[in-house]
Symmetry: C2
Subunit: 108 residues, 2 copies
């Protein structure tokens, strides 16, 4: 995971509509949700949602599969775990501090 990809994915998650949509897909798990189901839950116009979903797909965070007339969307858990791993490794290292460790870290 390079910084560019991480930034791209963080950027796409960094919009309330998209983050909400993504959370719904995470909750839905394997079953996923049709675009129309997300639309009803978020209560926003179809064209607006389509824009947001396509950005999530573009960033690799969501996959889509046609099922007849509906498009089923699923969270890409692998991508999400990759992003989580990047954040944990690259953006949360430094000092791992419990209260007791604060002085030691600051002093030495």
């Amino acid at each position: 995971m390079d910084t560019e990809l991480a930034a791209k994915q963080l950027c796409e998650l960094g919009n309330p509509h998209r983050l909400q949509a993504f959370r719904l897909l995470v909750k839905a798990g394997e079953d996923g949700l049709a675009v129309g189901e997300i639309q009803e839950l978020l209560n926003i116009p179809g064209s607006t949602l389509s824009h947001h979903v396509s950005r999530l797909v573009w960033a690799g965070l969501v996959t889509q599969e046609r099922e007849g007339r509906t498009l089923r969307c699923r969270a890409n858990f692998t991508a999400m775990q990759g992003l989580l791993g990047f954040l944990a490794d690259e953006c949360c290292t430094g000092v791992r501090m419990d209260d007791g460790d604060l002085n030691a870290a600051a002093g030495g």
Copy 2:
């Protein structure tokens, strides 16, 4: 951690310059970095960097403390851990899958 705050913080991390700056601050740990040090490392104009840093501060991801003429910036590890927790809990639940669990989860 509510969705709005998470989205705000994700949005701010979702810019390459800001993500790079934040990573530098994470690496720097307790010591942090002066704005000018970040600027030299990223090699971008001061006004541009100031814009980005102020956004990170606004989102609560970075703190600033004046030390004479320099402004020392530090990553807010607590905020970052909160964000990580939110993502792990709210955006990475669903099916926790090792390879072996895939079929079981899909099957029922």
